[in-house]
Every structure is written in structure tokens, then in C-alpha cells.
Amino acid sequence: MATSETPPLTPSLSKPVQTAPNTHIELPTGKPFRETEVSAILRANVTPIVLLAGSAKCGKTTLLASLHDNFQRGSSFAGYLSAGSKTLFGFEERCFDSRLASGGENPTTQRTRPADGLLFYHLKLRDEDLKSPIRHLLVGDMSGELYAGAMDSGTEMRKQTIITRADHFVQLIDAGRLASSEFRGLTRTNALLLFRRCLEEQMFESDAKVDVLLTKWDVAIARCGTEEKAIGVLKETEDEITKLLTSRVGRLRIAPVASRPHFKSRLSPAYGLGAFLRSWVEEPPRKSAPRITKFPEVDSDRIFDRFAFGEFPEMFESGRNV
């Protein structure tokens, strides 16, 4: 488990779950799931887990928000239709700072706060031709502070068992900073240190799938002047990561992305993300094969039972797989 004690939630997440008065029916909260809550989804569906890790401000939450936002801006994204989500409320909160309604001057993303720890967001996707059934995906957003703790301490790293369980471990590295002589050394060292820790603590099994996303590619190109120069500058870091991991994990991919490129950039929104999203969804989970055992419906007014049936109807025989 990620932490032995549950950290306090962020202000909005920590608002007490208001128990609806008896005259009302509670509906699912729509908020992101904690690690302890995801088993219900895994139980009912084949659901790959993607774990996003990286230092603070490397673009994890922006990537996550961009996955949701891009479905709102066109007829499909990466060949998928959005078939819904259990965490729409959480997604919207994450997208807010980039929206005009926030009153901000520059698009940012409300970052995952230290206390958030590890939160999971849910996507339901379906191929545009509708020939395949709906697919589920859980994307874990690990706070930068949790990431830093894992780098600093072997004990903390060993607590992050989700790294071993994840179907796709994704480290995001700020390519804009890698392209800066001022920040390159620090950024590269930290990224490599996380991988060394993971290897030393045996967090990666031999079939682990590791993706390295070089984020803020638009900034890297802008710093270097051209894309060719940016590729050249980043090659050294890529080579080091490849050398470190290639023989130790099942698959390693390294690619540039720009979740929300600057409006003056020539890159399209969610640049580079579509191909990754497809592989995360299409490749079968490494471990979490679904168990289809369901609970009989409980005719009870206990708050826990009402919460469980409302939030995870697919766990019950009579519930629909929302």
C-alpha cells in the first residue's frame, strides 16, 4: 500500500461526504479514487492501471486533465469515444485552472497536492466503430511529494507497491527543463535516481512496461530553436535511461509529448498522447485479471451499504455496470 496512514484530503476532496437526508438518494461522488477504493472497478472489469510518476510540476496532472479535455473538443480522441467516467467531478476540478472560467491569465493545472498522495481517475472508452466492448482505464496520479519521498528513502519506495502492480509505469520528465542548461543536471539526475531506486528495491518485475514521457515538448523546442536540436539535446538523457532499464524491464518506450502546448506552438493539443493512450487501453493488464464474483444486493439503510451500492453498483448482482 502507498502509505501506512491515510493522508488528509485536499480541501475539496476533504469536504465531508455529506450524507443526504432521508428524503434524498445519494449518488456517486464522482471524485477520484483512493488506492483502497479501486479494487471494485478491478473486480468488475478488465481494467489496466497506468501509474503517472514524476517530480512536482513535471506535467502529470496536466496530462491527466488533457486526457479528459481532449474528448470534449472533438468527435473522438485517439480513435476512441468517451463512454463515460466514474470520476468526472474530479476531472473537471483538475481542468478548471486551464479554463477561462478560472479567471487566470495563463493555462495551468491545479497540481496534485502533497496530501493527495495517490489518486486514481477512471476513463471508459470505446472504439469509434463500436465493434469492441467498452474498455476501462484507471490512471493513478502520484503526488510529486510521494515521488520525492520514494527517491529519498528505500522504505518509502518499498511502500509504493502500486509501482509493481501497475500495468504501465510512466515517468514524466520535464523536457523543457532538460533543454535548459540551468535545470538539465537536476532534472536528469532525479529522473535516473527514481529508476535506480525502483530497480534496487525490485519494484519492476521482468515483464514491467515502462514509459518515459518527455513532457512540455513545445517548451523544449522553443528553448532549442528547432525540433531537431531538441531531439539532439535530449538524446543523452534518453541513452542513459535506455542503458539503465532495457535489460531489466519487459518494455521501455521513450517519447516526447505536449499535453497542452502553448498557443503559439505548432504542436497540436495532446501531442504524442494518443498512441500511448491506445496502448494503455488495448494491452491486457499484467496481473489484475477480473474476478466476476458479485455480492447479492443488500436491502439495508446502513450508510456504508448505501454508499457501496451507489458508488460501485457493479459489485452487486443487481447493479448495472456503470
Binding site: 434524498h24 449518488l27 456517486p28 476531472f91 473537471e92 481542468c95 478548471f96 479554463r99 479567471g103 495551468t108
Partner: protein, 299 residues
């Protein structure tokens, strides 16, 4: 008896639709439309809104907390066919389902027992997911002389800026399409009806769309194309869930036009119901009961 439930966010045209529907089904002004099986026991509110509608006035918006649930029992040539309920004319409960994550048990009873739904969307009240970057791009296109010539410098400079949002997130401001998808998910979870459920989407105040974009969205697919363009997230959800929902989309203007700008034109119609505009599959002119007929499975 099959039941349909009308749903939608606040100010989406439910009350105006109901006023016109009450008139059409009660007056028999439109040939071939569904008819009222019997006049509701309490018809004061219905008569009031119908009178406003007949007098070319803006139909008074239903005030939250002061509304009476309305239900119309309808028939065709063969007899009674079903009822259509408007349990939340103000749209307050629908909106609270998204913002507060609950709804009243009495509303839930309507949802769980409905065979189909009429979902109202008003083109003038749609909240879009407009981003700051969208506005920056528009501003640059509008004032090209003010644009910073060196794009790379601007990108690098802005990448180091941290600008906090000026306002706190309020779920009420979430894009309309996201709110609608989430509430449809609630309906899927709560409904006890046989799947797929029929959903008639009523894009109301269609005259607003015509005034704004001319003939861009015309014909039977006009409202479908509009929905794809303006609410793509909802459109994807509807396309991706055929096992849950069978959908038809209708363009409707229950007032027929702008009550001030188009007044002279509207007054020229021989019968008041002739000003009703409806477009969609199988729609006869002015027959505002067609979405209900389809939702009840009579087509």
C-alpha cells in the same frame, strides 16, 4: 401505463415546451398529434403558462421550490398510450444531482420507473469548456499587431510563470456536456427500465440557432449536427452507449421565433400552434408531441 420523464438543466425550455404541448394536445389544433386523455386535476399552472404562450409572452420561468409536478396523460386514435411527467420544471434537482450528488426520493421514483426521457438543451445556455489558450489564440487573431513576434521567447517565458486561478472551482460552472453525461450515468444506474432506454433530446429555442448561424444546421440531421459540434462529449457518450440508450434528436422552437423581433411574422399564423417549429425524424409540421410518440415506442 408507460411513463416518460422530462429532464434538463435550468432554463432549457421545459416550461415553454410544456405550455405548447398542453395547448396542442388539448386543443387538437395540430392534426395527427397525440391528444390529452383527460385534463389534469390541478391545471392552474398549466393554464397560466398556456395563456402566456398563446398571448405571445415569454412563458414565466418556473421558480425553484414553487413548482407543482405536472403529468399529462396522452392518447392516440386507439386510446391512452402513456403519460409524460415534468417533475422538475425548474431544473433545480437535475442541476443539484451534479453539484450536490443527490436527488429527492420522489424524483428518484420518476427516474427509476420511466420508460424513456425527454432531455432539454437550450443553445443559449450551454456552458462550453473554453480554455484560456483558446482565448489567447482568438485575441492574437483579432489583434495581430499586438502579437509577440518571437513565439519561442513567449513560450519559454510563459513556461516559467505560475499564475494561480482567480476564482475557486464551482461545479455549477462545469461544461454543460459533462454535467449531462454524469446525470445520464446516474439514470443508467438508477433506472429499472428495460434497456435500451429511449431518449429524445429536445434542442429548444431552435430559432436562436437559426438566427446565429443561418442555415448551417438544417433538415432532419440539423439538430444532430449541432449537438456533435457544440456538445461533442455528450455526442460521444450517446454513440458509445447504444446498449443503454436509443437516441433521437429534435430541433424545437415552441415560440416559433423571437417574441419581439419576429412578432409581426408570428402574429400572421392562422392558428397559434402553426408557429411551433419542430424538425427531426418522422416529424409532421408543428407536431410537438412527436418526440413523446417516439419515446413511448409508438414508432
Amino acid at each position: 401505463m408507460s411513463k416518460l420523464v422530462a429532464i434538463g438543466l435550468p432554463e432549457t425550455g421545459k416550461t415553454t415546451f410544456l405550455a405548447a404541448l398542453w395547448h396542442v394536445t388539448e386543443s387538437e389544433d395540430v392534426q395527427g398529434s397525440l391528444r390529452l386523455e383527460r385534463i389534469s386535476e390541478e391545471a392552474k399552472h398549466l393554464n397560466n403558462i398556456r395563456n402566456e404562450w398563446l398571448s405571445f409572452q415569454r412563458v414565466t420561468r418556473t421558480i425553484p421550490g414553487q413548482e407543482q409536478p405536472v403529468s399529462l396523460l396522452l392518447r392516440n386514435e386507439q386510446g391512452a398510450v402513456g403519460q409524460v411527467a415534468f417533475p422538475d420544471l425548474s431544473g433545480e434537482e437535475f442541476e443539484k444531482a451534479w453539484t450536490e450528488r443527490n436527488w429527492p426520493r420522489i424524483y428518484d421514483e420518476h427516474i427509476t420507473t420511466a420508460r424513456g426521457f425527454l432531455l432539454f438543451i437550450h443553445p443559449g445556455t450551454v456552458k462550453e469548456p473554453t480554455s484560456i489558450a483558446d482565448m489567447q489564440k482568438l485575441a492574437e487573431a483579432a489583434f495581430p499587431d499586438d502579437a509577440e513576434p518571437d513565439a519561442n521567447s513567449a513560450i519559454v517565458r510563459d513556461s516559467e510563470k505560475t499564475v494561480e486561478a482567480q476564482k475557486e472551482w464551482d461545479p455549477e460552472n462545469a461544461p454543460t456536456q459533462v454535467q449531462l453525461v454524469d446525470v445520464l450515468q446516474f439514470i443508467y444506474q438508477r433506472s429499472k427500465a428495460q434497456l435500451p432506454i429511449r431518449l429524445a433530446i429536445i434542442v429548444s429555442a431552435w430559432d436562436v440557432v437559426k438566427n446565429r448561424v443561418g442555415n448551417e444546421y438544417v433538415g432532419e440531421t440539423g439538430a444532430e449536427d449541432w449537438l456533435k459540434a457544440r456538445l461533442p462529449y455528450l455526442d460521444q457518450f450517446l454513440r458509445a452507449n447504444p446498449e443503454f440508450l436509443t437516441v433521437r434528436i429534435y430541433a424545437v422552437s415552441a415560440q416559433g421565433g423571437d417574441l419581439k423581433a419576429d412578432r409581426e411574422e408570428l402574429l400572421r399564423f392562422k392558428r397559434t400552434a402553426d408557429r411551433i417549429f419542430i424538425e427531426g425524424r418522422d416529424c409532421a409540421p408543428h407536431d410537438i408531441s412527436e418526440p413523446i410518440r417516439w419515446c413511448l415506442g409508438l414508432r
